[in-house]
């Protein structure tokens, strides 16, 4: 059923792709940085502090979507008994975790000039911190457990519990009174953000997505070679 997911076939693509993805990432990031730091306008209320949004928001979006993908892949791996799904999930985790940390730290940096504090135990920030803990537990599980079946089971359990937190992160600003502003971008309703600010945000999101793809490909290749190393030992 999942012949297309055979490591041999995937490796043919993933081994060549990183250099092209890296090239594309550098171009998109350069355009994104110039838009975010130079060409985009300052906000009438927040002035230039608004520029932090161009790293904070894409990092938060991508860390949330990577965690959702990890959960989906882990569940699929469990249902279809396909180890490759777990391998893909494991390869996505490092970039997801780093994006989560970037979202938290840049959020704190943004908080100081706008709220007057680096940190507040507000619903959105706390739920993002909990997400970082789930990422940490997931990465730790792969380091601690040697037995494959055990690590598959434990890591899937962590993602299943962790995914409950994802909608809490998303809707925390609507469900509770928080310092954090509500979502400015909505697919169903009119955006509360001007196109001159939306464009750099989209470009930076694309750059961040390309970076996570690059890390995923490199990590996935590393994991495949690790398996092949074990295979050579058995010959």
């Amino acid at each position: 059923m999942f012949k297309i997911l055979e490591p041999n076939k995937i490796f043919q693509i993933t081994s060549k792709a990183p250099k092209y993805v890296l090239f594309l990432f550098i171009i998109v990031l350069t355009v994104g940085l110039s838009e975010a730091l130079i060409f985009s306008p300052e906000d009438y209320k927040q002035s230039d502090a608004v520029r932090i949004m161009y790293v904070h928001v894409p990092a938060a979006w991508i860390s949330l979507s990577i965690f959702s993908s990890i959960t989906l892949l882990s569940i699929c791996g469990y249902i279809f008994k396909n180890k490759n799904f777990f391998l893909m999930a494991k390869s996505l985790a490092p970039s997801g975790f780093i994006f989560n940390i970037i979202a938290l730290v840049t959020g704190a940096i943004w908080g100081k000039p706008t709220w007057g504090t680096w940190w507040a135990w507000d619903a959105r920030i706390t739920s993002m911190l909990i997400l970082a803990l789930f990422y940490g537990m997931y990465l730790l599980a792969w380091r601690i457990y040697e037995d494959r079946d055990q690590v598959f089971k434990i890591s899937t359990l962590i993602t299943v519990f962790g995914i409950i937190n994802v909608p809490i992160v998303k809707f925390s600003v609507d469900w509770w009174n928080t310092l954090h502003q509500p979502a400015s971008i909505n697919i169903l309703t009119k955006n509360a953000i001007h196109s001159s600010m939306l464009l750099p945000l989209i470009i930076m999101t694309a750059a961040f997505a390309l970076f996570s793809l690059l890390i995923f490909l490199m990590k996935y290749n590393t994991e495949l070679i690790k398996i092949k190393n074990k295979g050579l030992d058995r010959l």
Partner: protein, 75 residues
């Protein structure tokens, strides 16, 4: 103009440190993952080199092994 860019109406230290933190993290993660990849690839080459001709032929039958070996020169 450069001073204006760095000052950013008083928010320069916040904005630039947020961007710097992001880019430093990107660089560190990229270098760590690349190092892990090169280490595993090196290990593979050493192991492959130590195989006798019969075992090397068997190993070469697997497409992925050939692919790893062919990619050594490009990384």
């Amino acid at each position: 103009m450069i001073n204006e860019f760095l000052f950013m109406n008083g928010f320069g230290k916040y904005v630039l440190s947020a961007f710097a933190f992001t880019l430093i993290n990107f660089t560190i993660l990229y270098l760590v993952i690349r190092q892990q990849f090169l280490k595993e690839q090196k290990k593979f080459i050493v192991k492959f080199g130590s195989l006798n001709s019969e075992k090397a032929e068997t190993a070469k039958l697997q497409k992925i092994n050939k692919e790893i070996l062919s990619n050594v020169s490009t990384n």
